[in-house]
Symmetry: C2
Subunit: 110 residues, 2 copies
DNA sequence: CTTGACACCTAGCGTGTCTATGCCTAGGTT
DNA sequence: AACCTAGGCATAGACACGCTAGGTGTCAAG
């Protein structure tokens, strides 16, 4: 596991910042923005986008006038609301983990 | 999903700070240290401890002289090493998410 | 004798992510 | 021509993890 259930947050946040984008572009954007930490396989991203569309958080449309067929997605109002919520949840989660982890560190030599 | 694959880190970190502890005590400790954010069901913690023991990251022993039977666990050297590694992974992960999420926030009213 | 805190355990489910694979187009190389 | 690489989408299946839901039992207080 690598994404730990935060994939939706990452996708929604990226769509929010960059505007409508297609799957492959999202993969690239996440890889670059995260400094290489998130290098997501397609089998992760495409099903996730389908899920988000099914749940009404994004809407997809086939782009016209591009050489290759590509399906782009943009945030819906519910998507924006979900992003806000997931953002809050992330901050609370990260803070809580930090509270537990952030005090002492194990000694390198045990 | 709530713990997002970071349960092991939380357990190992708590054991590292408090020394040997039993399952129920870990649940209480995590709840209090996290300010209530992590209120883990027993069905989450006990199987996780079994997993950690199976993998050699903790060793369990039945405490003697306590009114109720309780199985306590303490970190092994591998456990300490794993804690270090998971700690690093957490920091990298949190940083990467922050890079993606941390710039803009959706407007409250859309 | 019932309630509630303490303390442990497990089967089975749902969900999410990844692996693996497939299909197709465009552009470049040999 | 044949081949390769990058771009682009898609799904099936496996796996890991956490949670639900149930169980066992002790001890103290009402």
């Amino acid at each position: 596991m690598d994404l730990r259930g935060h994939l939706d947050l990452l996708l929604l946040a990226t769509l929010h910042q960059r505007g409508p984008a297609h799957g492959y572009a999202l993969i690239t954007a996440l890889r670059e923005t995260s400094g290489g930490t998130f290098d997501l396989p397609e089998g992760t991203v495409y099903p996730a986008l389908h899920r988000l569309e099914r749940d009404g958080l994004v809407t997809g449309f086939w782009e016209e006038g591009t050489p290759r067929r590509r399906r782009s997605y943009e945030l819906t109002p519910q998507g924006r609301a979900a992003l806000q919520r997931k953002n809050r949840e992330w901050r609370e989660f990260a803070k809580a983990v930090q509270m537990i982890v952030g005090r002492a560190h194990p000694e390198p030599t045990g």
